[in-house]
């Protein structure tokens, strides 16, 4: 399958504006070249577990980072997180929950399910790009995956 595309970041986000802002933020610091976008939880699971629309993708071709919104159509973010973290093939992929929810219960549930980080999307764009810069720098450059 020589055509397999290198994916650095899997962005699970249904809001097209947020998708554009996130890609913009990462691109600003040159982390945006290999971002794959999926629009709902179901598609996210299909990508991660290489099935359905992503049949034939190699499941071991893991993204370096998954950015996960919690409020998603079809399968919600916490369920996606649970599926990733309870499968030995995928549980080592860093998952950063990137959401609007400041709710304590969402934070606790995310960390309980094995989220690597929990970040509230800033409204202020300059802060948003700063988040993208730091995430890219840490998870794509500094962090060593197994």
């Amino acid at each position: 399958m020589g055509t397999a595309k290198q994916v650095d970041i899997l962005l699970v986000e249904d809001n097209p504006n947020d998708v554009e802002l996130t890609i913009r933020g990462f691109s600003k610091y040159n982390f945006g070249n290999n971002i794959e976008v999926v629009r709902d939880g179901e598609e996210a699971l299909e990508f991660i577990f290489a099935r359905g629309r992503y049949q034939g993708r190699d499941i071991l071709d893991k993204p370096s980072l998954i950015l996960l919104d919690l409020k998603l159509p079809k399968v919600d973010g916490l369920e996606v997180l649970k599926a990733i973290k309870s499968d030995p093939r995928t549980k080592s992929i860093p998952v950063v929950v990137l959401t609007t929810s400041r709710e304590e219960s969402d934070k606790i549930a995310s960390y309980d399910l094995g989220a690597n980080s929990y970040i509230v999307k800033p409204v202020d764009f300059s802060k948003f790009t700063e988040v993208a810069r730091q995430l890219g720098y840490y998870w794509l450059l500094l962090n060593e995956s197994p």
Binding site: N15, T100, R102, V123, D124
Partner: protein, 388 residues
């Protein structure tokens, strides 16, 4: 004539007595001699005997002969015999198959020489009382059930409010993020093509999105506090105040402010909520002393018999005492938005939390340009002690 019948007929007030006995509502009265024969009865007893036994009773007739059901006759005879033996007692009689309930008071009848000459029975018809009692019991059960239903309704309403709060967070913030982000992108991509005024106006749009965001955050925080359930535990208040001050103050603030934390007493309260109280009061004090010389923030407390009053003082811009009452109202601000950040919900949140704990809040300008915000918490056993 027996001594007993003499006793009754000889009484000169017999007709008065008879009128009284006949006139008593709900009372069935009869007197028997030692051979179970009627010495006297009132009108209600006569009609009861007619209704129940189809018997027309006369003075001198035996009560037992009128009772045609042997089992009941045995029971009646036993009660009469107890009274004839000198016993005064009360028995309850429920008529099977009906709601009718009697309370019978039995007592012996004595003559002038204290010899027992018969038995007296005064029966009160408790049917109505009894049914009223049953009704009260039913109403109580009903009321209790309604209380439970109301509690469930309240819980459902709170749950709805909670999901409303998280939905407005999500649904209102996404468009704000787009407004802020796309304005910034226009500035970045097309900035050189815009003149200074065009750039300024775009910046105003982005800034307002950020302000709107602060409003939403505060509103949601207030809703959450509004439906919060208190989980009170003993709190080391001095430690909490110190931690919250350092959380609220930036390094620049810390180095510029003389923070004087007095020996304030502990209390009992909800730690998550009380942290918000300190955080809001400290960030106000920090905000309103910013840029002023010799910034001071002071925390002290005094204890009365029933409550602890915590005071946070600063030497910031302060306010006009005439408007002090407006400070704790939602979104009311005494300073223009340009000069100081914040949406104006912080003190409303403080007030709500303190009131939830059974305390009060207030603010006043003291002499020497000091601003004081205070809140009280009720004193409990665990909160009275001083820190070691």
């Amino acid at each position: 004539m027996s001594r007993a019948s003499e006793f009754f007929s000889a009484d000169s007030s017999a007709s008065l007595l008879r009128a009284i006995l006949d006139g008593l509502p709900n009372a069935i009265i009869f007197a028997l001699d030692r051979e179970y024969r009627y010495l006297a009865f009132n009108r209600k007893h006569r009609s009861a005997m007619r209704d129940v036994w189809n018997a027309t009773v006369k003075i001198g007739d035996s009560l037992l002969d009128c009772m045609t059901m042997p089992s009941l006759r045995v029971l009646a005879k036993a009660s009469i015999d107890r009274a004839l033996a000198g016993e005064s007692f009360i028995e309850r009689q429920e008529q099977t198959g009906t709601d009718i309930l009697y309370e019978l008071r039995w007592q012996p009848l004595y003559d002038a020489d204290d010899l027992i000459i018969g038995a007296l029975s005064i029966a009160a018809d408790l049917t109505e009382l009894h049914s009223a009692q049953l009704k009260v019991e039913r109403l109580n059960i009903d009321l209790e059930r309604r209380g439970i239903e109301r509690g469930a309704l309240l819980a459902a309403a709170n749950e709805e409010l909670e999901s409303f709060a998280s939905n407005i967070t999500h649904d209102l913030k996404a468009p704000l993020r787009a407004i802020s982000g796309y304005s910034a992108m226009v500035l970045e991509d097309y900035g050189p093509k815009l003149d200074v005024e065009g750039q300024r106006k775009l910046t105003v749009i982005a800034d307002n999105a950020v302000k709107m965001n602060a409003l939403i955050c505060d509103l949601v925080a207030l809703i959450r506090v509004g439906i919060a359930k208190l989980k009170p535990v003993p709190i080391a208040m001095r430690d909490m105040a110190r931690a919250m001050y350092h959380e609220s103050a930036s390094p620049e603030d810390s180095s510029a402010i003389a923070f004087d934390l007095g020996d304030i007493p502990d209390c009992v309260g909800d730690p998550t909520l009380l942290r918000k109280v300190w955080a809001n009061l400290f960030s106000n004090a920090i905000k309103f002393t910013t840029g002023r010389p010799g910034r001071v923030i002071e925390v002290l407390a005094d204890t009365s018999g029933t409550e602890i009053k915590y005071r946070i003082r600063d030497n910031g811009v302060g306010f006009d005492n005439r408007y002090a009452h407006k400070l704790f109202k939602l979104f009311s601000r005494l300073h223009s938005g340009e000069a100081y950040a914040g949406a104006g919900a912080g003190l409303a949140i403080v007030k709500r939390i303190v009131e939830l704990h059974g305390g009060k809040v207030g603010a006043e300008m003291l002499k020497g340009e000091r601003t004081e915000f205070w809140f009280t918490l009720p004193r409990t056993e665990a909160s009275g002690s001083e820190l070691p």
